[in-house]
Amino acid sequence: MEDRDTIICRCEDLTREDVRKLIEAGYTTVEEIKRISRCGMGPCQGRTCHQLLVREIALLTGKDPAEIPPHKARPPIKGIKLGTLLAGGEKHD
């Protein structure tokens, strides 16, 4: 399969070609690529793409995947509706 047909991040529709271009342009950390391309910023919170992204960085930079710092996981763990938060929030008022 071509790099441009291989999806790395499904939520943000990012292909292997997109990611490789960014790594070649000098964005060689997970945090930088996430911010510039939204890779891993979708509803799945990077659960599917994160490992794939680390692998691409390792392949192109020649680094050991274990040495590539993982992305910072941010809350909430699972998407939560604002309306649900409101129901919970009323207790405090």
């Binding site: 950390t29 945090e31 930088e32 911010r35 510039i36 939204r38 910023m41 979708g42 509803p43 919170q45 941010r74 809350p75 909430p76 998407g79 939560i80 509706k81 604002l82 309306g83 938060l85 409101l86 919970g88 929030g89 009323e90 405090h92 008022d93």
Partner: protein, 383 residues
């Protein structure tokens, strides 16, 4: 280690540092080094709401923001990096819920119009035409300026950096400034984790760390960090044009061109320390503030929350200029939560100042000396 030197060393690779580096190089000062501890836009810039507005109550802020927005309008063409700053120029809608606020907004709009900013006072019904699902209960009036908007802070900062590099600027990421050497009241060198850089001009563009960096040069700044939290939802089809902002509730809420909604509010009890963790309480209170005003957003799922630092100054206005106590030490700090939008104009002004030119807008009221003289500025319209 080879001996390093530069005409100008910039501490911090956020919007302020990268924009100033670019405008310096554009003016011909290309021997510039930007030193960034982490990666570009890793500080407040990459954590901010990235709203840009000209609807201020202070003439200085209106002039600065207007100039910045003019620059943002053509920045993609000017920097020509292939990155898109994603300027969504669909206005800011500012809601007024008290008579006092209406009076203030009337004054603000008159001042804005006198400076050629196309803001106007509108009725609740007109506000609903702009945001059809706005609940107008209790709303007395609003102001709207169609040329305000929202921008992608990552691509903007990186665009400035790429354009600056193309002109010869060196950018050292993953490098920390650890000391500043001063001799006879003048900067002579910057110490970094990658060695010493000899220089006679340093720009402090370190955002939330401005006080610590200034202290390295023996300069005492009255700035302090304050945590601000923010969240983002899943993306949906475009339904909201402008940033909606209610100073009464203290919140702002915008739909990005990508479809997600970002929102935050000012919490007077927030931590005034270097912490960027986020709290569950913030999400609940955010929902409680925004949903009565924008009810359909209840259906949106929050996918992420985070926090960043405002770099506060005593009058919530930036501090721009050379420090009187140390020649060659320049500050562009204390943006107090509105520094992203001031990035381009600050970059231009600091570049003029550092290269010995007269700044094209008189920024002497923003000097550090104002605190000593008691000449504080008062901006009535901050979140």
């Amino acid at each position: 280690m080879t001996k390093m030197s530069a005409d100008v060393v910039i501490v911090g690779g956020g919007i302020i540092g990268c924009a100033t580096a670019y405008y310096l190089a554009k003016q011909g000062v290309t021997d510039v080094v930007v030193v960034e501890r982490d990666f570009l836009a890793s500080g407040s810039t990459g954590r901010c709401g990235a709203g840009v507005r000209q609807q201020w109550g202070l003439k200085m802020n209106i002039l600065l923001a207007k100039e910045s927005i003019k620059a943002f309008e053509t920045l993609n063409e000017e920097l020509d990096t292939g990155l898109d700053i994603e300027f969504k120029q669909q206005g800011y809608l500012m809601l007024a819920y008290t008579e006092k606020m209406v009076e203030q907004y009337k004054k603000n709009v008159a001042l804005q119009q006198s400076l050629d900013v196309p803001a106007r006072l509108i009725s609740p019904a007109e506000a609903r035409e702009i945001v059809p699902y706005l609940n107008t209960d209790g709303l007395l009036a609003a102001t709207f300026c169609p040329t305000d908007g929202h921008i992608n802070p990552f691509t903007t900062t990186n665009s400035y950096a790429i354009a600056a590099r193309r002109l010869g600027v060196r950018i050292m990421t993953g490098t920390e400034v650890t000391g500043i050497e001063v001799k006879d009241g003048r900067v002579v060198a910057v110490e970094t984790s990658a060695g010493k850089i000899h220089t006679n001009a340093v720009l402090n563009a370190s955002g939330g760390y401005s006080r610590e960096v200034a202290a390295m040069a023996g300069v005492d700044l009255p700035t302090y960090p304050e945590r601000h939290q923010i969240l983002v939802t899943e993306p949906v089809a475009p339904i909201q044009g402008p940033m909606v902002i209610s100073l009464h509730h203290g919140f702002y809420c915008q739909q990005t061109p990508h479809g997600s909604f970002i929102m935050g509010f000012g919490d007077p009890n927030e931590l005034k320390e270097h912490v960027v963790s986020s709290t569950w309480h913030f999400m609940e209170e955010m929902a409680a503030k925004v949903l009565p005003v924008l009810p359909p957003l209840a259906q949106l799922r929050v996918v992420r929350q985070w926090a960043g630092l405002y770099n506060m100054s005593p009058d919530a206005q930036p501090i721009l200029g050379e420090a009187p106590a140390c020649r060659g030490f320049y500050n562009a700090v204390g943006f107090s939560g509105h520094g992203f939008m001031l990035g381009p104009v600050t970059g231009m002004l600091m570049a003029e100042l550092i290269s010995g030119k007269e700044p094209h807008i008189d920024i002497s009221p923003l000097s550090l000396e104002r605190f000593e003289k008691g000449e504080l500025l008062r901006e009535p319209s901050v979140v």
